[in-house]
Symmetry: C2
Subunit: 479 residues, 2 copies
């Protein structure tokens, strides 16, 4: 059982028992709880903190935990309704409408309730993460001299060199001086969008696309404009048209194992994307989030767009989190030309720099023998899981369709029968104990058809995948 489940379960039990205590009464000691529930002190501490965060329990260091008073006299409820006016206030007649819709992102980040099978999500199940290698790398990083000192603002030099080699490939066309270490891929995307486009500007995105890029664009006051993708990646004829039609100076693209479809940008379209953007005087943000997630049976990978771009068209984004752990929030931006200074300025002003111990952990990890070993093991496991999911879908969801078998990444993009209500389906599926991701949030405008995105990396194993699809199929037959 994973830590997060045991914490959630203990919190659930304690919550249900709280009525036995009067407000202000002391709960059993941590030690007593450890003995009674046979869990670790850390689990008890976390479960109590969860209840404290909910306002049900008050913890006092040294004294213990107490049932909270229903209305603590010390904190009279104030009147916060004025905030609704203040938060809607605009800068002037021409202000950009404000909307920060984090729902899609939160849905993909939040873990499932205990007992629910996760066919959603965008991270590896803990059993697929290189947990021991991470722990060893962190321990070694902590012993490195100067591990807590200020890192260079652009990132630790060894890590920049490593990213440059990975992004540039054998051509060596990406230099360490063109790399900025970032706090993961989402931060890198946000920094790129804020650097490249002023508030109010349009930004071209693939359709469907990763909801995090739509949310990041909107949160920065940008207007995402859809450009359709098919099994060969973005439709370059429509890309050219979209640049002509608007004043966009940025196109965000996932050329490799596109999220959600898994498609790979075809060779002739790669050249077209760069040519079209160059002619439009626009940047291509290459979100290369999945390069290390190729399945065992994937054909040889195309190089990054960044490695084939001499004119600074491409702003490259990548990250280690998908391949390792969501908490190894280390990624990179790579670019060339004046834009590099703009990216660096935004990153420094927003958040200073990436914590050095995490950067040193990444240096240790990518240099360890565990790194290539993990890559091989993961490639094999992802292939097995993808095949198991596809086979289960064929058995249990005969009315659905997977247009494209992804050679990399975590997801398959399942076309549902016309007229299916995705939201109702997702809600009914959750009642049956399975978390799935509706397709709607992947479209910046009207969706092409009803879809689900199913993840084969977040579940505990193949048996759980099969059981999840079985329950999904039963729900679909009902609705």
């Amino acid at each position: 059982m994973h830590e997060r489940n045991s914490v959630a379960e203990l919190a659930l039990t304690l919550r249900s028992e709280l009525n036995r205590y009067s407000p202000g009464e002391k709960l059993p000691s941590s030690r007593a709880l450890v003995e009674r529930f046979r869990v670790s002190p850390v689990t008890v501490s976390r479960a109590l903190a969860t209840l404290a965060a909910e306002g049900l329990v008050v913890t006092r260091p040294g004294a213990g935990a107490f049932r909270a008073e229903p209305h603590p006299a010390s904190a009279p409820p104030g009147d916060t309704s004025w905030q609704q006016v203040a938060l809607s206030a605009e800068a002037g007649e021409e202000a950009v409408p404000r909307s920060v819709d984090a729902a899609g992102v939160i849905a993909s980040l939040a873990g499932p309730p205990p007992g629910v099978i996760e066919l959603s999500g965008g991270y590896l199940h803990p059993s697929l993460q290189p947990e021991r290698a991470l722990a060893a790398a962190l321990a070694r990083a902590g012993r490195r001299p100067g591990a807590w000192e200020r890192p260079p603002l652009e990132g630790v030099a060894e890590l920049r060199s490593w990213f440059a080699r990975e992004i540039g490939g054998p051509t060596g066309s990406v230099t360490p001086s063109g790399v900025l270490v970032t706090a993961g891929g989402q931060s890198a995307l946000t920094t790129a969008l804020r650097a490249l486009a002023p508030p109010g500007a349009p930004v071209l995105v693939e359709s469907p696309t990763y909801p995090g890029v739509i949310a990041a664009a909107r949160a920065s006051g940008l207007r995402p404009v859809p450009v359709p993708v098919d099994a060969q990646g973005v439709r370059t004829d429509l890309l050219a048209e979209a640049f002509r039609a608007g004043r966009a100076r940025v196109f965000v693209c996932q050329p490799l194992f596109h999220n959600p479809t898994g498609s790979v940008l075809a060779e002739d379209r790669r050249r077209e994307v760069l040519r079209i953007a160059r002619e439009a005087g626009a940047f291509v943000v290459e979100d290369d989030f999945a390069r290390r997630l190729a399945h065992e049976d994937a054909p040889p990978l195309p190089p990054t767009l960044a490695s084939e771009d001499a004119d600074g068209v491409v702003v490259h984004v990548c990250s280690l989190t998908k391949f390792t752990s969501p908490s190894l929030r280390v990624g990179a931006l790579a670019a060339r030309g004046p834009v590099l200074d703009r990216l660096r300025a935004i990153q420094v002003v927003d958040s200073f720099f990436v914590p050095r111990p995490l950067q040193e952990t990444a240096v240790e990890l990518v240099g360890s023998p565990a790194w290539p070993r993990h890559r091989r093991a993961l490639a094999a496991e992802l292939r097995v899981r993808r095949e198991a999911l596809l086979a289960a879908l064929g058995r249990e969801l005969p009315g659905s369709e997977v247009a494209y078998v992804p050679p990399g990444g975590f997801h398959v993009w399942v076309r549902l029968p016309d007229g299916t209500d995705e939201s109702a389906l997702a809600a009914a599926t959750l009642r049956a104990g399975v978390l799935v991701t509706p397709g709607r949030p992947f479209y910046p405008a009207e969706p092409a058809a009803p879809h689900l995105r199913l993840c084969f990396a977040a579940a505990a194993g193949v048996a759980e995948l099969r059981e999840g699809v079985r329950r999904l199929g039963a729900v679909m037959r009902e609705v």
Copy 2:
């Protein structure tokens, strides 16, 4: 000698010896360098990576390091000049002018060149950081079960509870559910500004104030509007006037040990700030960056503004970095009311969450016996250093004036004789081997008078502080 110095020195030596090798020639092995320079393998690796980042050296894993070819045939220099047009493109007639000036922030973050005395900066010298406690906390955090799992988006519950107790104080008026864990104070400030004000809006800031808040506001398209401070903190008569004059809905304030002056907001003005903001329907961002930096002789600290605010006026920002290490990038936002959702949405969309190992490190550290011990030791040391700096200033800079002896924080704010050219002085001082911070970047508009901000926490010790001020005095007598 600190690691960063030995890396910089080895890089300097290797750089000067590069001419001995022809382009493409192999440099001595890491092992040979370790033996010759009597440094650790990590230092050699970092020094080589520094040269690689400068494009002087190419490293190939397993093969070694080579002098770089002057113009690698594989990376023809492209034409990036089009970017200047693209980066100036605006969204429309009414677009917000774009300026991302990170110079002030970068100056305060970059370490000094080797051999230069640091009277600038905003972090503790490594010898004042709780290095062993940090290493122990990191090691314990790495062994916690689930250390690499996804944390709750709002932060690890134990840490939220701790922050709530620290921010709310004995009143208990700040609840864990009102706390978001952030990646340090600067990220928290940026999140607050982006959440509270739309692009183009004015935001009231103290004058002088911390350059990082001016830069963060401008990078988000906001217009910082100055409100003067004196020895009792912000001038509340002028604050009311500034709210009346404009349409600002946000005031950013450092009530405790204000940066750069060190002043503490007076009791009557605390109440006034909350009343004025409440009447204006505006938020107060309380940047409580220095609460743990009280000097040994400081009077009892006032509580946070957040703890005395029932109506959700205050958005509280705090951080652990100043008190520990710049790389423990863990801080908090605290708020109540609808604004909390807005803050959470911005943070999640921008950067997802704070890496769990760092949060667990913070939990371990604040719960360890080293925490109160460090607080006492630091309070004593900061007092000694402040007094040493003030005494040296009295001796060496008779023409300067320190209006306020700060009871906390890292800085004194030194008034220079009228007509002093701060930039010329800082440049001449650097030539004499001392890094100081000119006063100009602390003013959002015209400066009141020439100043320097001197830091007594970043130098190696009292002797170095005295030597720094001696050199500064000699330079001032010359110019």
